[in-house]
């Protein structure tokens, strides 16, 4: 084993505290970053259906005009235009309760939309026509603690309203969230429900072109549209400020820890001056000694980083299992982006050590140390 590793292994009282400081900082930064990333991931899972469907609803009226429908049907990239009404179910998110749209769809349209969005009905069945029944993605059902047969929407609910108690009859599995009910039931029982459309392109790659075409032909004063492009922009705008704050906090933590560890390494270096002086006297080059010291520093920083990453992954996986998944929220405990983000910490520690130790090394005169005769 090289002498530099022997130093680490045989000086646990010096190396373990440094390692723990680095590990804690990495665990903290990685956890915060992963939790932040989970917001975006949850948003894109919740509204990810917009990647395959553009939502159009009328403004100041209950129906989209026939002229507009004719214009829409002529669009070259349009595949299907699905008639749809909307109810809302309330779900719990990081920012409190949020309404999530429940599309009222015809039976055959619902089957087509599930196929386009990569969803499968894995439990129960589709809603019967004219009946207050609902199908939810598994995450939405988990978020609301609903099982098949439970009432999801009700006439007395403040934020999940339906004219009659609406029971959960089917559960969907897939990459995005979706909730739908019977088109005819909503049409017959909710006279003031908005009647809009869901538009799909022939392929997912044609969706941006279709969105541009729709925006060109509709009057935004009469039709409100929700596109994937808007979702991405809104999510980016909302999260960019949070990421900016995170960057500042991360920079401060990284600077502080790098400074702290760098100073500790310098103290340890000073405690070993006689060792380095002996090596210099024996004919070892300063560069060799700096390289050995940096090897020790780098190894310790990497062990600290790995420990921190393992701690963060374990902790977040526990959170995912017992807190996030039961609420239908997404959390990737092993998020490579977050760990790359924290990689700056060992890099800065080694850089700081390189600069301070090199400067110190250049001033070492082995003879003066040997002659101290302490």
């Amino acid at each position: 084993m090289p002498a530099s590793f022997l130093y680490l292994v045989r000086n646990p009282r010096k190396t373990i505290p440094v390692c723990l400081v680095i590990a804690l900082a990495v665990a903290l930064l990685a956890s915060v970053t992963i939790l932040m990333d989970s917001i975006g991931q949850t948003v894109f899972a919740m509204y990810g259906y917009q990647r395959d469907l553009t939502v159009l609803y009328p403004r100041n009226t209950l129906y989209v005009s026939k002229d507009t429908v004719i214009k829409l049907k002529k669009l070259p990239d349009l595949n299907r235009l699905y008639p749809s009404s909307a109810l809302f179910i309330s779900i719990k998110t990081f920012f409190g309760r949020t309404p999530f749209v429940v599309f009222a769809l015809r039976h055959k349209d619902a089957a087509e939309i599930l196929r386009e969005c990569g969803l499968k009905l894995t439990q129960g069945r589709f809603p019967d026509s004219d009946k207050p029944e609902i199908v939810l993605s598994r995450d939405i059902a988990a978020n609301r603690h609903l099982r098949l047969g439970d009432i999801a929407l009700s006439p007395t609910s403040k934020d999940s309203y339906s004219p009659q108690p609406m029971r959960l009859v089917g559960v969907l599995d897939g990459p995005v969230w979706l909730a739908f009910t019977s088109y005819s039931y909503v049409h017959d029982n909710c006279p003031i429900a908005l009647n809009g459309f869901l538009a799909s392109a022939k392929t997912r790659s044609q969706m941006p072109a279709l969105d541009r075409e729709i925006e060109r032909v509709i009057d935004p004063g009469k039709i409100r549209i929700w596109t994937y492009k808007d979702l991405v922009r809104e999510a980016y705008n909302a999260l960019s400020n949070l990421y900016f704050f995170l960057d500042i906090i991360a920079a401060i933590i990284i600077f502080d820890i790098a400074l702290l560890c760098g100073l500790l390494f310098l103290i340890y270096f000073d405690q070993r001056l006689s060792e380095y002086a002996a090596l210099l006297a024996m004919g070892y080059h300063q560069g060799y000694i700096i390289q050995q010291t940096l090897q020790e520093t780098g190894t310790l920083a990497m062990i600290g980083w790995l420990t921190g990453a393992i701690v963060a992954t374990g902790l977040l996986d526990y959170l995912r299992l017992f807190y996030f998944e039961p609420k239908g929220m997404i959390l990737h405990a092993f998020d490579p982006h977050a760990y790359w983000y924290t990689f700056a910490l060992p890099v800065f520690i080694v850089l700081f050590a390189l600069v301070t130790i090199s400067l110190r090394m250049l001033r070492i005169d082995p003879v003066s140390i040997m002659e101290r005769r302490s």
Partner: protein, 224 residues
Amino acid sequence: MNDDQKKGLCAENISLAYHDGSEVTLAVRGITLSLSDTGFVGILGPSGSGKSSLLYLLGGLKRATSGEIYYNGSPYSEMKEKERLRLRRNHYGFVFQQPYLFDYLTAMENALAGTSTGDNQALTRAMEIFEELGIARHAKKRPRQLSGGERQRVCIARAMMNSPSVIFADEPTAALDRQNGHMVMEMLASYRDRGLVIVVTHDTAMLDECDRIYRMRDGIVQEN
């Protein structure tokens, strides 16, 4: 000094000045000496006489203010830093007053720290030296588990590891009692047939075995 005289280790009119502000102190004043390839040489003198400075100059740890030092005809002043380091690493061995050992390494690992390779050959050689110096049973002990004399012997072992042409010892017995001091000197003296050993001391009693003694006073040397 002719070319023949420049074989081995020799110094030609070397001086060493220390500057303290505008004050200049000459630690070594125009010393000329020529040392053979083998033998046991003592440099004796009171504290501040410049004997350690002379040793560090000869060992290439300090640069002479004036004059020249030659090793096998090569002048130090013309050597690049890398060549001086290589000379110290491959041809010279050092023993200092304090046993500067790495406290996290065993006695054997400390001895091996002086070698550029840690292979089995080096290990065998280190074991032979430990046997020779009577510290083989301490090979796996850490420095803090050894007595002062044993630590100094580990330093001698480290200095001998590369079979150096010259061993420089600066007051190697100063931190030891008389019995241990004599033992260390005997061990250094035992190397006299394989190379040159130069020992600096202020204690005349430690130089019984020397082939040659240089007495120093005020930076000037006189052969005894």
